[in-house]
Symmetry: C2
Subunit: 272 residues, 2 copies
């Protein structure tokens, strides 16, 4: 019995070269945060991350896969290719163009973002949330979200330059950026009083000017801890709006912790 | 009174262009771990990190500074330029070549590494140490060392691919890589029994196959926690050599933590 060519099975279209318009569009989504925002679309790379996105209930608008990846991972990729709006077989040069790493993974999917803007009503009363104000390093942001999910927080609230759909964020989060409930707010400073009105304890994490250590936070109510930007910390306005200011006691000569490391310790104490 | 030109004050030599042999040598130290190992030298970039290195008692073999940086930071840089074996005034193209970031800092120093290989006798009885087996991401390594210093650990023990003098490690550590007592060992697997013979409790940090949580470690004696490689975790041989295997309790769907995040939580519990 003759085997049906896989390309036909998945209704795949073949793309030659790297200058195809769809490849260029997806590559722009990989490279440009502005283009992601403008179009409301983003790209995942790799079998694991693409399948992670699928399990959140999304279907890919488009999938791009190399022959080599299809040969190696056909069974795992089948649900992705079956549900993709369109599926394309691409060559190595297009894969290299779509990847933001050296040594591409050979599978890329384009997705529609879920609009999570301002959905603070999805924040659960009595929940425990990490709030990230303008965390600019995508590796830090991804690590925070991964840790938040691992430790069992209810979700994250992000503002400013937190770039959730940056390929580095998605990768560093190991998919947590897609699975964890994340609410994007325009202004953390304005969100804090709204949360306090809902009986949340909202703590600013600071290096100096604190009124308690992380060991002393009140965990009897809904709880939000706010971590600031890597270089500048929290904005004074946000810190001032909080229930209190807490710090991580430090004994050594290093003056502070990396934002993601501070977030990990704070989340650990939130969930104790 | 005529001011003495600053170049003469510091006995500086002027380098034109970027193809000078000293610039090329320093740029190679920035780029190549193998060349750093072979020559036993490394480079720091930036006012803060260069001054950090100076406070450890080292003197720079060479300093390279741009006119612009000299104009802006002469007072801060004076002790570096005074103690440098040779000091060079460089142009923007040489500075760009010496930098591993976009937007260079305009000051670079070359140093002799302290040989910390196998100096396990400098590990203090009853001390608290983080041991890092083959952490390959310099940002992770740097973050671990920064946190270790901030939380007041006595030092770190590193093996395998841990690249202490990588510019990214030095930067991510905010100088802790230079200030914290760090011992490099050839084999973590062989170091663990030697530490246990000295009455250290040595715990392997693992995701599965654990026999206690991080909350249950014995902190009554000298204490070492060993963190493994980002992708592969600890080698089975090292894990088997340890006093026990501990894990960070996780409630969420994320299967594990980033190595640096896990290290932060473990160090926090070590120092409680």
């Amino acid at each position: 019995m003759r085997r049906i060519p896989r390309i036909r099975v998945y209704g795949m279209e073949q793309i030659t070269g790297k200058n195809n318009d769809r490849v260029k569009d997806a590559a722009k989504l990989v490279r440009s945060a502005a283009y992601r925002r403008e179009t409301g679309r983003f790209v995942t790379e790799g079998v694991r991350l693409c399948l992670d996105a699928l399990t959140t209930g999304l279907a890919p608008l488009a999938a791009f896969v190399t022959r080599d990846r299809l040969d190696r991972s056909e069974k795992e990729l089948a649900p992705l290719l079956d549900s993709a709006g369109r599926a394309f077989l691409i060559g190595g040069d297009a894969a290299a163009k779509l990847s933001d790493t050296q040594g591409d993974q050979g599978i890329f999917c384009v997705w529609q973002m879920l609009d999570k803007s301002g959905e603070t009503d999805t924040i659960k009363d009595s929940g425990r949330y990490i709030a990230l104000e303008n965390i600019q390093n995508p590796d830090n942001l991804g690590a925070c979200l991964r840790t938040a999910e691992a430790l069992g927080l209810d979700g994250a609230i992000v503002s400013g330059g937190c770039d959730l759909y940056n390929p580095k964020t998605l990768r560093a989060s190991m998919g947590s950026a897609l699975r964890l409930p994340v609410t994007r707010v325009d202004s953390m400073t304005e969100t804090v009083p709204a949360l306090r009105d809902r009986d949340f304890r909202v703590y600013a994490c600071v290096v100096s000017g604190y009124d308690m250590t992380v060991l002393e936070m009140d965990r009897t109510a809904g709880l939000v801890c706010v971590i600031g930007n890597e270089g500048n910390g929290l904005t004074p306005q946000t810190a001032a709006a909080c229930t209190g200011r807490l710090t991580i006691p430090m004994r050594g000569r290093a003056e502070s912790l990396n934002a993601a490391q501070a977030a990990a310790l704070v989340m650990w104490e939130m969930m104790r």
